[in-house]
């Protein structure tokens, strides 16, 4: 028994591997519709900074895609989550005071905007936050695979 317990892999705390993988895939899906962070990096051989093409991307598309993610994960979690928003979902999965919940709440604010252009949404900020969120989820998946 003692020998067996030494070789048994410890299950990481928190959400299951299946939930983490689904979350990663869904987040990658949202990331694919946001302007890429790398698009704003200046080209060394060219003085002009590359424009981020935001004309074809609207925050509403990102907002609905985030709601679709919440629907998908809620469906997988069953009774474990009845989150009504992106921020709530990450708080349900990782805990209210987790870094993931904090980033998700900020992401929600960034895509929400306020009464039109003047206090508009910030898709570049949303893109950065999503990048960090995906990195955290991937790090958790790596823990499972170790």
């Amino acid at each position: 028994m003692a020998a067996n317990s030494k070789t048994t892999k410890r299950r990481p705390k928190g959400p299951s591997l299946e939930i983490l993988k689904t979350l990663r895939d869904e987040l990658d899906g949202i990331d694919s519709i946001l302007p890429s962070i790398s698009d704003s990096v200046p080209n060394e051989e060219d003085d002009s900074e590359m424009e981020i093409t935001t004309t074809s991307i609207e925050a509403e598309e990102v907002e609905v895609a985030a709601s679709a993610l919440v629907s998908t994960i809620n469906g997988k979690l069953g009774d474990e989550s009845d989150a009504e928003s992106f921020g709530e979902l990450f708080a349900d999965i990782f805990g209210d005071s987790s870094k993931e919940a904090e980033l998700a709440a900020e992401f929600e604010e960034a895509i929400e905007g306020y009464f039109g252009d003047l206090f508009g949404e910030d898709l570049d900020r949303a893109s950065e936050l999503l990048y960090d969120l995906i990195a955290l989820v991937k790090a958790r998946i790596d823990k499972w695979n170790q």
Binding site: E58, E60, A68, S71, E109, F115, G116, D117, L118
Partner: protein, 217 residues
């Protein structure tokens, strides 16, 4: 409209409960304007209080009890602000509880507010069409209502009419059959190139909510 004294009291009570230093923003602002449902005397148990503060902080505090937006004096007299949907709403429905309403008569919609609204409505239609099958029931209802409200706002902006608080939009949707038909026609036009199943389902959901006494948030 709600009285200045009632709104001042409401703001004071909300500030006492808030963890943020709302009293600091109140004291440091040259103008304070309450707008939205509170200003119109249409508060419900779920309502927050919407406040515009004129100061240099650039803060925006948003929680379940208060939505406090700070803008600077310079911004206040900019063309961008004066032509915005929010400025139009506040000029028409806001109650000044501190300072003068010197910019109120300068508010004029221009094409930018309308263009933004049209883009927003179209973006919702496209995104909902693409994600409809993935959305759970609560989200399907939520976005059916949201799309209808945004179309109502677009119709008002097209006529140069300031946007009223959401509860007034909802009431008009429920009680004015001719208006409801116009909105339904706008939705059908908007979704004419979408999957027929999606288009008919969302129109049906939008129509069903006319009979609801209270909508989802």
């Amino acid at each position: 409209m709600e009285s200045v004294s009632a709104l001042s009291r409401l703001l004071d009570e909300t500030a006492n409960r808030a963890k943020e230093d709302i009293h600091g923003f109140i004291a440091g602002s040259s103008e304070l304007v309450v707008f939205g449902s509170s200003a119109c005397g249409l508060r419900t148990a779920d309502s927050d209080i919407d406040v515009l503060c004129v100061n240099e902080s650039g803060e925006h505090i948003r929680n379940s009890q208060i939505d406090l937006l700070c803008i600077s004096e310079t911004q206040l007299y900019s063309q961008e602000w004066l032509a915005s949907e929010l400025a139009g709403h506040i000029a028409a429905y806001g109650v000044w509880i501190k300072g003068e309403n010197g910019w109120r008569d300068r508010v004029r919609f221009d094409q930018s507010a309308l263009s933004r609204k049209r883009r927003r409505v179209s973006a919702y239609a496209v995104a909902l069409g693409a994600n409809w099958m993935k959305l759970s029931e609560p989200f399907k209802w939520k976005y059916s209502i949201k799309l209808r409200r945004e179309i109502q706002r677009k119709l008002l902006l097209e006529q140069g009419i300031p946007i009223p608080p959401t509860l007034i939009l909802d009431e008009k949707w429920r009680s004015a059959p001719r208006h409801a038909e116009v909105v339904d026609f706008e939705i059908s036009k908007l979704l004419c190139n979408s999957e027929p199943g999606f288009s008919s389902e969302i129109r049906e959901r939008v129509w069903i909510t006319r009979g609801w006494s209270k909508y989802l948030k």
